[in-house]
């Protein structure tokens, strides 16, 4: 640059600088450097627990006891994962969580896509009132619903136990979460933006609501579908209190409950507890790394039209 640049503009620039002394902040880019320092410092705070979790999970029992931070032999530390996996029965919990999450997401999509479509694109008496009631239920905290829902699920279990028991089984862990008002709300918002011309065209071609929904609306709404799936995934994978209440045996307990039990029992076996934390977190984090962009953008848009 310097060699090819003509000398006149450079001089002119110098003259301007002489007349209007550039501030210290601007000249040395103090503001920008400060910006990077603060952002990096914050990022370090955000990362510290992860680094600690991974390093700690690779320590031997002796190193943990001697308050070491860095493992001497990380490869040998991998043994912790095997041990934690076997001791905490993660095998079973892991499979449970995958099944529970899958059933919940599929059910949620079926239930909520239909409702969101009806609220967005169809006309029937009382539509807005019903939607308002739906939205109002979001204000009811789960803590209040916990006890009655436990009793309701108990009753359903007694009623249906020969065919389909609810307690210690998938229905109690999945069905109550299939009607997600938040998902309906997000999808309704997205569905309303689809131009009416498309519906007119589809109707001329003889398509009804179902075909229009499946062939036009859903393919155009991939972003919002992805967002609600992600939210449901995080929700199901995270659920602790409800599964704790409706399961009494490990055969249907999800991974969060398994890890919770493991943490309470681990006590001095901190390195195993950390290994368990890595095992449970890894799938979500890996999924996150691969879908990072859609993931954050999907969540970001939820705040736009509060």
């Amino acid at each position: 640059m310097a060699s090819t640049a003509p000398s006149i503009p450079a001089k002119a620039g110098a003259r301007v600088a002489e007349k209007q002394p550039v501030s210290f902040w601007y000249r040395y880019k103090v503001g920008r450097i400060l910006l990077y320092v603060v952002l990096t410092f914050g990022a370090l705070i955000a990362l510290t627990p992860f680094v600690y979790m991974i390093l700690g999970s690779l320590l031997t029992r002796g190193e943990m006891m001697n308050r070491k931070l860095f493992p001497k032999d990380p490869v040998a530390g991998l043994q912790n994962y095997v041990q934690a996996w076997n001791e905490a029965n993660f095998n079973e919990y892991f499979v449970n969580s995958v099944i529970i999450t899958t059933i919940t997401i599929v059910g949620m999509l079926l239930v909520c896509v239909l409702a969101a479509y009806a609220f967005a694109r169809m006309r029937f008496p009382g539509r807005d009132l019903i939607f308002g009631i739906f939205l109002a239920t979001m204000m009811i905290p789960e803590t209040i619903l916990l006890i009655p829902n436990f009793l309701i699920v108990n009753r359903l279990d007694k009623m249906m136990s020969p065919v389909l028991p609810w307690l210690n089984n998938w229905p109690s862990l999945t069905i109550p979460f299939m009607a997600s008002v938040f998902a309906i709300f997000l999808m309704r918002q997205s569905f309303t933006t689809i131009p009416y011309e498309l519906w007119d065209a589809a109707r001329i071609d003889g398509a009804g609501h179902v075909r229009f929904l499946v062939q036009v609306v859903l393919p155009l709404s991939k972003a919002v579908l992805f967002t609600v799936i992600i939210f449901q995934f995080i929700g199901s994978w995270n659920a602790l209190v409800w599964p704790l209440v409706v399961t009494s045996r490990p055969d249907w307990r999800p991974i969060a409950v398994g890890l919770y039990g493991f943490i309470s029992e681990a006590g001095p076996e901190l390195h195993l507890m950390l290994a368990g934390a890595v095992i449970t977190t890894a799938p979500v984090l890996i999924l996150y790394f691969f879908t990072q962009k859609q993931f954050t953008e999907g969540i970001a848009t939820t705040g736009l039209k509060g």
Partner: protein, 405 residues
């Protein structure tokens, strides 16, 4: 738009259109039926059911009808509750009068304003007196759990929102590696709560070599017990300078509950609040970033031409246009504080002596550990009333301050 009119067109003219409208209505009801049934069974009916449960002695199996006894057990003497409720209603009334009169200049308006102030004072007196007596005759632990929830909210909500906004504004600048920063800041939110809370339990352990003690040691904080520390933060700080705040306050003749409030949140609770900030600041920042991106840039340009400096730009362009996002996040965060249970359950240590038990956790304990379904439901209904009042106040407050495009 054209269909809108045709759907409800007067009959006789277009029977075909009318038939279609009826058909569409039936299909619509069918479409919302599954969601409606599920929401009714697991979302609306349970609310009524919870109230029904709360009127009974109910330990796993339904017991005798108790009326409002569970409520008086929790909240104390009905007379005191009445005083409190009357006080709160008076405060709202005073606010209502004040709001309608604040722009009037005439003499009678002045008189009404004066009246509002008196109503406010009387209301505040009745509410505080009633509440003081309720705490004495009611379930002290429950009141403590509400205070703990308030500590939690007051400590977390402003810091979290301000931190997230600052972070978002910084990330919104033209910087290199923006996506990387955003990804890192968002990671805590994606992590399994139980796992990350478990890690924080190890970080905030009482061992002198724990990560928290090492980090805070860098800025000269002596080793603390963190999650196992039941003493209030003010008590600890004063204690550091050799003052036994608790004895001083008790010696001054203050009520023991008031002393509990004045000593501040326990260090254990503060550790949990730090965890909460760690999880949600990045999440809130991502939502703020989207809000910032939605502000049209010509507004900034116009303001710059008018000679606004950077702070004025932020204060008069960014903040007002971001107010819907701020409101949305405030509501979400406050609701989150009231729901806070999973991570508290994981990070709770017996040594913290119940100083981290938020209202939700107290309800959960009464239900799950003590199997007092009726009593737990009564407290849950009280919590619900508190949340509804808060939402109402938030809404009213927002109406004047939130600027929708």
């Amino acid at each position: 738009m054209a269909q809108q009119s045709s759907a409800y067109a007067p009959s006789g003219r277009m029977t075909g259109a009318r038939k279609r409208a009826v058909q569409e209505a039936i299909t619509g009801y069918l479409f919302i039926a599954p969601a409606s049934i599920l929401l009714t069974v697991f979302g609306l009916f349970p609310l009524l059911y919870a109230f029904y449960i709360s009127l009974h002695r109910w330990r796993i199996k339904k017991g005798p009808f108790l009326g409002l006894k569970n409520y008086t057990k929790a909240l104390g003497d009905p007379q005191d509750i009445l005083w409190f409720v009357v006080g709160v209603v008076l405060i709202f009334l005073a606010w209502f009068i004040w709001r309608n009169m604040v722009q009037e200049q005439r003499a009678w308006a002045m008189a009404l304003k004066f009246l509002a102030v008196i109503v406010l004072l009387v209301g505040a007196w009745a509410a505080i007196m009633g509440l003081g007596k309720m705490i004495k005759s009611g379930d002290r632990q429950m009141f403590e759990s509400f205070v703990i929830t308030i500590f939690y909210a007051v400590g977390v909500v402003p810091v979290q929102l301000a931190g997230a906004l600052l972070l978002a504004v910084m990330l919104y600048q033209n910087i290199k590696g923006k996506d990387w920063y955003r990804m890192i800041y968002f990671m805590p939110y994606v992590t399994i709560t139980v796992a990350s809370a478990g890690v924080f339990r190890a970080i905030f352990s009482r061992r002198p070599e724990s990560i928290a003690n090492r980090i805070f040691g860098l800025i000269g904080v002596p080793p603390q017990k963190w999650l196992q520390e039941p003493h209030g933060i003010w008590e600890l700080i004063f204690g550091h300078f050799g003052i036994h705040l608790k004895q001083v306050l008790l010696g001054a003749g203050l009520d023991s509950f008031l002393v509990f409030v004045l000593l501040g949140p326990s260090l254990a609770l503060i550790s949990i609040m730090l965890y909460n900030l760690w999880v949600f600041i990045g999440y809130d920042a991502v939502i703020f970033l989207a809000g910032l991106g939605a502000i049209p840039s010509d507004l900034y340009e116009a303001a710059e031409i008018d000679g606004a400096n950077r702070w004025q730009l932020f204060r008069h362009v960014t903040l007002p246009l971001l107010s819907p996002t701020i409101y949305f996040l405030t509501v979400i965060t406050v609701m989150g504080v009231f729901k806070a249970i999973n991570h508290v359950l994981v990070m709770r240590e017996p040594a913290a002596q119940g100083t981290v038990d938020t209202a939700s956790l107290y309800i959960f304990d009464q239900f799950y550990l003590s199997t007092r379904f009726g009593y737990a439901s009564a407290i849950a209904m009280v919590l619900f009333a508190v949340i509804l009042t808060l939402t109402f106040v938030q809404n009213r407050f927002a109406q004047r301050r939130v600027f929708y495009g």
